[in-house]
């Protein structure tokens, strides 16, 4: 784990090792909180996959109308529709849990007063809606 034993500890107790409590291998199945944590973290897999799919779509677009049409027809297959549905749910979970975590990681202060957590979260949701609306307009109004 990378803990360092200080010289004081070493001189007092000889070659002492810090006790490392053994964790069961399936620790994350032991309770709901651990499980939810792992599910939340694994939403990043969908983030990575969609980034790659976007890259593939760009390359298909660059390769010409036929390549692009083939890519689009692949998106219509039931497999992809299912993956996109699950992926959308995963990304929504990713976004919601991310916004929930932001006030903990980013404390904005005006002098003594701290910006309330709800306001930070709320502003993120507003920004999310605005950005999504802009993207939707660009993609739909052509």
């Amino acid at each position: 784990m990378g803990f360092e034993v200080s010289d004081v500890t070493r001189s007092r107790f000889g070659a002492t090792r810090l006790y490392h409590r053994p964790m069961p291998f399936w620790w994350w199945l032991q309770n709901r909180a651990y499980f939810n944590f792992i599910v939340r973290e694994l939403t990043c897999v969908f983030v990575g996959v969609f980034a790659v799919l976007t890259l593939l779509q760009i390359r298909a677009l660059a390769d010409g109308p036929d390549a692009y049409a083939e890519f689009i027809s692949r998106l219509r297959t039931p497999g992809f529709i299912l993956f996109n549905t699950v992926g959308l749910a995963a990304l929504l979970l990713h976004a919601v849990t991310w916004f929930k975590a932001v006030p903990t990681t980013m404390a904005i202060r005006f002098g003594e007063t701290r910006v309330p957590d709800q306001m930070i979260v709320g502003l993120h949701y507003v920004g999310w809606m605005v950005v999504s609306a802009v993207v939707a307009c660009i993609l739909l109004l052509r």
Partner: protein
């Protein structure tokens, strides 16, 4: 953050609404002219670059936690994660610079 803000609307439209016919997809020519624009190229680069590294970082530590990876095995995993993200970023940069 990029993935949280931008991916849901993209997946909803490009992944579900367009393929299922709920909304009309942009045709090839108009999409191409949109992508060729320098601002769109920059947007798409950011769209791919940040989420790839987000995945790499988060996935690396999740693997450490899930599999209880010891010190010795940690470096190859980190190398694979960030290496893959870097490779994807380079391919994205090349693709977006050379699209014509």
């Amino acid at each position: 953050m990029v993935s949280a803000l931008l991916f849901p609307v993209h997946i909803l439209l490009i992944g579900l609404a367009f393929p299922l016919g709920w909304l009309d997809a942009p045709d090839y020519e108009s999409l191409r002219s949109l992508v060729i624009h320098p601002i769109t190229r920059l947007y798409l680069f950011v769209f791919i670059f940040f989420p790839l590294f987000h995945w790499a970082h988060r996935f690396r530590y999740t693997i450490y936690d899930l599999l209880q990876v010891k010190h010795g095995a940690q470096q190859p995993i980190a190398l694979l994660c960030y290496g893959a993200a870097l490779l994807g970023t380079i391919i994205a940069a090349y693709s977006l610079l050379t699209i014509a």
